[in-house]
Symmetry: C2
Subunit: 297 residues, 2 copies
C-alpha cells in the first residue's frame, strides 16, 4: 500500500504486485495535527484495504525523513510532524510494517520505476507546485545523501541577487518556476489567475501575451537550472511533475532553448525533458515500491 | 603507477600498495601532439619504474573519457587527443594494463581515498585553475554518470545574464572562481598579477584592498554555487584544489558566509569546506587507485 501526505491532501492506494493502483482513497488534511494525520491514514488504509491482507505501507511525507527510524526531522508545511517518530507510530496504528520517505523522493521512485523515467539511470524528477521539489535517481537508485536531504532543487540560487525567498536566500529557482511564482507573476501583470497556474496556461493558450511571457519566464528558469544539472550529473532525463506539469507544453520550448544554449553537447545528446506519466499516482506508487524494497526479507 | 596529463605538464609516479608516492617524474607537454604525449608517457613510466615490476597504469586526461574502452571522446585543451583510443595505444606502448579516466575524476578519487575527503560519502572535489573542474563522490564511490561526463561544475550558470564564457554560455562559475578569472579581475583593477593568482593572494595578504576584493568575489561565487549543491546533493565536504587552493584562507570566509546564508540547516550541520591535502600528487594517486580497481582480478 502507498500513501502520499501532501500539504493539503492525503492519498492512500492499494497496489498489486506490479505496483499498479487497484484502489484509491483521498481526504483533505489541511491544518490537521499529528493525531489527525494518523487517524486519517488509519481510515484511508482501512478504506482501500477492504478484505485484502496488507503486507506493508509506504508513506511519503513533505519533509526531511530518516528512513531507517521512520522519524520526521523537519516538515515545514505540516508543523506538528517535526520530530515525530511517524514510522513506529503508524506501525502500532496499522499493525503492519511501515516505511516513511520524503514525498518527492517517493514521486521520483514512482516515475522512475513505472512512469516517465523508466529505463534511465540518471533522472531528476522535479515537481512544480506550491514550491519546487526534487528527487534524484543516480546510477539506477534513489540518491538520498548522508542525511536523506538530497534532491532539494527548488532552492538552487538561480539569480543570486534576485528577490528574497521564504527560505531566507535570494533568487531561488522556486521564485521563478513554482506554480505559486507563476500565479504571482501573472497577477502582477494583470493576467487572470484566480484558478491557479493552470488558468494562466489557459489564458496563454487563448493568446494572452502577458500570460505567455509569464510561462516563458518559468520555462527559461528551468532551462538555466537544468543546464547546470545536466553538466554536473550527466542527467538523462528531467521528469516534470506537479501542478504546472499540465502547462509543460508552454514551458518546454523556453526550457529547451536555455538548456541547449548552456549545456555541453556530450550529455545533451542523451538528455530528454519529459512530463510525468503517473501524475497524482506517482507518490503512492513510489511509496509502495520503497515499502516493498525495505520490507523485503 | 599513476599518470596525470594536464594542459601543460605530464606527471608520472610510482606508488606502493597503499598508494603512497614512491617516486615522481614530470615533464612539460604543452603543444605536444598525440605521438609526443605517448612518447612522453613511455619515458615517464620507464623513468619511475626502474627495476620494479609494474602491475598497471592509471592515466588522468583533461577530457571526456570512456573508461570501458579507454577512448578519449573530447579533450578541448589537448586537441590531438579527441577520438584517440588512448588506453589500447598505451597498453601496446607500455606492455601493461592501462586505465584512462578524466583528470579531475582521478584527483577526486585521490583526495577522497587518501586526502581531504577521507571518511566522507558525499564529496565534491573542485579544482580552481585555468578553468574550474569537478569530480563527485556520491554514496562512497566516483559518480561518472551514463556518459562519464558528470562532475562538470565549472559551467553551472551562476549569473545567467553575466559575461559570455568560452563554452558559449553566460556567467558560468568558471568566469568568477578560476585562477584565470582572478587574474583577469585583478588586472582590470590594477592589482599586480604577473605571477598569476597566487601573486594576487600575496598582494591581498600585504593589505592591497582591490586584491582582497577580487578574491572575495571568487569566494562568494563558490559559496553561491556550493549552496545549490549542498542542498541538492547533501554534500558532506567540498575539497578545494588547483592553483587557487593556495589562497583558500582568503576565499573561505566569503564562501562560507554565502553558503550559510543560502543553504538549508539540515545538510549544513554536517558540511565542511577543506583545502586539498595531496596537492599536485592527487591526480597520480587517484589514477593509480582507479587502475588498481579496474584491473583487479
Amino acid at each position: 500500500m502507498g500513501a502520499d501526505l501532501g500539504g493539503s491532501n492525503l492519498r492512500v492506494a492499494l497496489l498489486d504486485a506490479e505496483h499498479r493502483v487497484v484502489c484509491r482513497w483521498r481526504c483533505a488534511v489541511k491544518e490537521l495535527a499529528v493525531e489527525g494525520v494518523r487517524e486519517a491514514l488509519h481510515r484511508g488504509v482501512r478504506a482501500v484495504a477492504g478484505s485484502e491482507a496488507i503486507q506493508g505501507v509506504g508513506v511519503g511525507v513533505p519533509g526531511l525523513v530518516e528512513p531507517s527510524t521512520g522519524t520526521v526531522r523537519v516538515a515545514p508545511n505540516l508543523v506538528g510532524l517535526s520530530g515525530v517518530a511517524l514510522g513506529p507510530d503508524l506501525e502500532r496504528d496499522l499493525g503492519v510494517p511501515v516505511r516513511v520517505e520524503n514525498d518527492v523522493n517517493a514521486i521520483a521512485v514512482g516515475e522512475w520505476a513505472r512512469g516517465a523515467g523508466r529505463g534511465a539511470r540518471a533522472v531528476l524528477v522535479i515537481t512544480l507546485g506550491t514550491g519546487v521539489g526534487g528527487g534524484l535517481i543516480l546510477d539506477g537508485s534513489l540518491y538520498r545523501g548522508p542525511d536523506g536531504s538530497a534532491g532539494e532543487v527548488g532552492h538552487m540560487p538561480l539569480y543570486p541577487q534576485g528577490p528574497r525567498c521564504a527560505c531566507g536566500a535570494r533568487g531561488c529557482l522556486e521564485m521563478y518556476a513554482s506554480a505559486t511564482a507563476v500565479v504571482r507573476a501573472a497577477q502582477e501583470r494583470g493576467v487572470p489567475a484566480e484558478g491557479g497556474a493552470l488558468s494562466v496556461a489557459c489564458a496563454a493558450r487563448s493568446g494572452h501575451r502577458a500570460a505567455r511571457e509569464v510561462l516563458a519566464r518559468a520555462g527559461r528558469a528551468l532551462g538555466v537550472a537544468a543546464a547546470g544539472l545536466v553538466n554536473l550529473l550527466n542527467l538523462e532525463r528531467i521528469v516534470v511533475g506537479g501542478g504546472l506539469a499540465g502547462a509543460w507544453d508552454l514551458l518546454e520550448p523556453h526550457a529547451r532553448r536555455e538548456l541547449e544554449r548552456r549545456a555541453f553537447s556530450a550529455p545533451l545528446e542523451r538528455f530528454r525533458w519529459v512530463p510525468w506519466q503517473l501524475g497524482d499516482d506517482a507518490g503512492v506508487v513510489g511509496a509502495s515500491i520503497l515499502a516493498r524494497e525495505s520490507l523485503a526479507p
